[in-house]
Structures are given as structure tokens and as C-alpha cells.
Amino acid sequence: MLILPVLGFPLFSAIILAFTGHRSWASRVNGALSFVTFIASLFLARKVLTGGPILLANETFYVDSFNVFLISLTAFVGFTTALFSGPYMKIEEKKGKVNPKVLRLYHSAYQVFLFTMLLALLSNNLGILWVAIEGATLATVLLVSLYRTRASIEAAWKYFILCGVGISQALFGTILLYFAAEKILGPGGESLLWTHLYQIRFQLEPTVLKIAFVFLLVGYGTKVGLAPLHNWLPDAHAEGPTPISAVLSGLLLNVALYALVRCKVLVDGALHSPLASEMMMGFGLLSIVIAVFSMLRRKDVKRLFAYSSIEHMGIATFAFGLGGALATFAALLHMTVHSLTKSSIFFSVGHATQISGTQQIPEIRGLIARVPRLGWGLLLGSFAILGMPPFGVFASEFIVLSVAMKQSPWTTPILLVSLAVAFGVIFFRVGGMVLGKGEKNTMEHPPALFPIFLHLGLVLLLGLFIPPFLAHWYEQAALLIG
């Protein structure tokens, strides 16, 4: 039973942290237990690496090459964000923005959030997958409103309602999927198990699956942050505490996209037509364009990077839509590197806003002069997210572009223009923030620099060299998704 620790530790930590209340060691316990979860996920990954896909506990859980790296990634970012949130929350506490009662909720809900993410990834049952993703919304909604400011409560409400409505559409899609499967597999729990559905995907009723996919795309697409359903995302990212912005961007969006792609595999099998792929390409492209042009007018730094997340999820969705081994490989790589880079950026941005006392870009100046390593971290992170070589984002975007050029050339100019605009906007805004004069600052508590550079190091590594086991997983998953 390798799955039990992966799911058990977050749940256990949530209960411990909820019951002990806030202690000075709570953030360290949070980090330590997240680390244990990460180690457990590595053991699971090793098992899959040596033994292939595994089905466990009466087919309730399924781990294959598509979700195994996402599980490790989720546990890893969960761990590093917990490391970051320690110092971050200490500073917030010293500034009087949070109190022990709030921190208790924060730590406990953080672990519940990790639990739901991991459950969503591990579950073989599409119904449980839905429930887990909805659970993730519920776990984070009170975290978004943690500061109890008007803006944060409004953002949380918007997040709650929009994602709730969206995800209800996904449930209707899941019901239709079950309905189509039940006719072949018979009633009972098996008809929602992905492994069973995968085997009969060619026999599923095409018209039903077509309608089901529209609902699933709208539903999970809301959570991925695909335009025009993305309205909740910038608000939730900007108004919540920064560690939550980091995990929302780095993890939640990925998991929602994962759910969508799992369903797409089934729909593709039934439909014999590229409808699902074309819809994903369309939504992806629209998201890229809308996100990039929305960036132009943004003055709030967290909002700016939230739009950048929409853009990058758009790129990944577009790449999944393109289909084929190469584009899917790029999409999976992009999910990985975006998650690492964006959370690193949010770590630096979080400390930067603490130093400046504001999220307004024009008022954040001279970061490199004030806290040199933090400034460099933000600058390098921005280079990475803009797709500068040798970082990993460059590799994935380059593959996506070259496949797009070959398969649907008309999309290339749109992609190139969007990437160029995003480059210009982020480059100059970040340039303004990190450069310039400033007094050397001493922060109330030393900032968490280790996670920032750890993530950037990994992104750099993935740009230069993808380890063979990871490439193997990506290739296997790409074969599966097609």
C-alpha cells in the first residue's frame, strides 16, 4: 500500500493542525509533514517506474505514467510552498495582518487542499475525481478570504460561485458519461472507473459523449481558467495570501486540466472525429489571446502573473488539442515547468509585496538594490516564464510552436504575437520593479529564498536535460492521450 501514506499524511496533518491550534511550530510541522508526503509520493513514483501502472484497493486508485509525475509534482510544490509560507506568514503576523486563529485555519485548510488535489489525481473513479476537485474549491475558498478585506471577500465569493456553477456543469457531463458507459458495462460503480471506460471507449455512444464533452469542457475549463470562464482567477490570485496564489496557479489549474484530458481520451475514442481536440485548441487559443491582452492594463503584480497563468494554461490546453505524440509531450512538459516557474515567481512576488507594502507595480522599485537575491530570483523567474532559453519553458513552447506551424499554420502568427506581447509587458514591468535605486532593506524575518531558487534550478535543469525516466513517462502518457 504505497498510496495510503500519500493520501494519509495530508489528511493526518490537517487534523493535527486543526486540533492543536496555532503554535509557533505549526508552520514547521506543516512543512515537515508536506515533506513526508513528498517522500511517499517518490516511493510511489519509483514503484510505477519499475513496475508499470498500478491499480489498487479494488480498482479505486490508479497510477499510470500520466498522473504519476503530476502526483510527485503536486507533493513537491505542496512541500516547497509550505517552506515558503513559514517565513511569509511570520512576516504577515508581525505586520498584524493575520492572527493565530486565522493561521490555524490556514494551515489546516492548506493540508486539506493538498489532500483533495492528490485524491483527484489518484482516483480511478471519475465521480470521485469530480468530488475531489470540488473539495479543493471548498478548501481554498476560505483561504482566499483570509485577510477579511472587502476585496478578498469579494474575490472569494466570486471564486466560490463561479467555480461552483462551473463545476456543476462538469458533474452533468460526468453523469452523461456514466449514462453512456452504463449501457455497455451495466449499472454499478465500475461504469465510472476510468480503466474500464478506457477499454470500451470505442463503443460509447458518440452523440452522448459529444454533449458530455461540452459540459466537461465548460466545467473543468472554468477551473483551468480558460477564457471566457476565467474571471474568478485573477481576483482569487490577487486577493488571497501569496502561498495560496502559488498553489492555485501551480497545482489546482494543472489538476483541473488533468481531469479534462482524462475525459478527452474517452471522448476521442468514441467520436472518431477531432471535435474534442478542435474545441480544446479553440479555447486554448482564445485564453492565450485574452490573457495576454488583459495583461497590458494590469497594475497589480499578482494580477499580472495570474493572467500569465491563464496564458500558460491556454498554451497547454492548445497543445493537448493539437494532439499527436510531440505536442502532447510538450503539453505535459509545459504543465510541469509552468507549475514550477509560476510558483517560484509567486514566492518572490510575495516577499516583494511585503517589502514594498503594496501590490501596485509602479510603487515597487529597486528590488535588486533592496534585497539583492530576491530581486534576482524574480528577474530570473520572469525570464523563465517568458520562455527564454535555456529554461524549460523555452523547450516546451518551442515544441508547441513548431508542431502548430506544421499542423495548423494559421495559429502560428496568433501564438507568436501573443508571446511577443506577453514578453514585452512582463519584461518591462518586472524590469521596472527589480532595477532602479533603493535602500538596503532588512526584512522582519529572513525571506524564504531556498524554494525560489530550488524551483528555478529545476526549471533550468529541465530546459537543459530531461531525465530519461521523466521523458519515458511523458512519452508513455503522450501515447495514451494521443
Binding site: 465521480g127 453523469i175 452523461l176 449514462f179
Partner: protein, 228 residues
Amino acid sequence: MTLAHESPFGIEMVNLLGAFILLVAFAMLASRRTLSLIRLFAFQGFFLSASIFLVAFLSGETNLYYSAFFTLGLKVVLLPWILRDLTRRLGISQDIEALVNVPVTMIIGIGIVVFSFSLASPILEAASTVTRSLIGVGLACVLLSFLVMITRKKAMTQIIGFLAMENGLLFSATNATYGMPMVVELAIALDVLIGAIIFGIFFFQIRETFESLDLKYFEKLKEDEESC
């Protein structure tokens, strides 16, 4: 699919209950008072539970009996009680909401029903349940509840719309497939319950900060930031 109990009258009754559920959804669109909305929601839950019970009897699916009881407990007793308690404690039980253009909303609602039925027609051809003609009703309920949410500007009434949407989903699931697997239904019910607790907390947060549960004060996050 073979039935446990062949009864044309039973099927007629399920259809009738479906019609009631749809009727309640329309009544929600026009209802101005928070308390009457909660009552309508409880009614909808009751009709839903009765229809699940009847489908369970007709089809002989034991799981559906449990589902019917859960629905009765959760949607008719527990959630309306929580909602009423909240309105009392928040002092909004006498709230009257100014609705703009009820006739237009109604006409849009009728359009939604027509749309739902036309969308559901290819699905029903593939369905084998006796109650398949009600899939359209389920979808219409989901979309009508969505309309309720759009037309409301108060936190409480938006939440009732949200919960009614879940009723529509459950109704579709019952009539299209004789219910989802038990684990899934239980997990969904748990989600709804946790959701209810969270929005309860939320109401107090909103009122504490805005001194009102009226969402018209929610204007700060307009996306029109000035350009840099």
C-alpha cells in the same frame, strides 16, 4: 431494461413530479421573499425525493431508496433548516428583493426549457430507463437555477439558486441512469454539506465587512484598472 413493477400509472406519476419540479424552478425565478425561496427549495427537494423513491420502486434499484432518503434528510430537512436559521441569525428573514423584469426572465426561462429539451432529445434516444423523457427536465432545472443565480443580487438567494442547481443534477442522474454509484452520490452529498457550512461562515464574513448581504456593494474588483 426490465422493471420490477410494470405500472403505467407509476411512470405517469414520475412525470407529474418532474413537472412539479420544473414548476417550482419557475416559481423560484419570480419569488421575491427570501423565506418563500427557502420554502420553494424545500418543496423542490420533497418532489425530488418522492420522484427518486418512485423510480426506485419502479426499477427495483435498492440504491435509489437510500438516495431518496438522503435527499429527504438533506434537501428537505437539514438544508432548509440551516438556511432558515441563517436568515434568522442574520436578521434578513423579512428581506424582499427587487427583481427587475420578471416577465422577461420568465420568457428567457421558457426559452431555456425549449433549449434543454432539444439538447436532451438525442440523449433520450439512447436511453433505456423508463423515465428518460425527464432528462430534459433535469437539464432545464439546472439552467433555470443558473438563471435564478444570475438575476439575484443577494448572497443568500444566490446560494439557494446554487443548491437548486444541485437538485436538477440529481434529478437528471436519477432519470438518465437510475442514479450514480453510491460512493459518488454520498461524496457529492458530503460536498454539498461542507459547501453549506462554508457559505454559512461566508455570510457572516460578508456582513461583518460590508455590513450587508447585498452583493451590489461588491464593486471594488471591477476589471477597469487604469493603464500604466
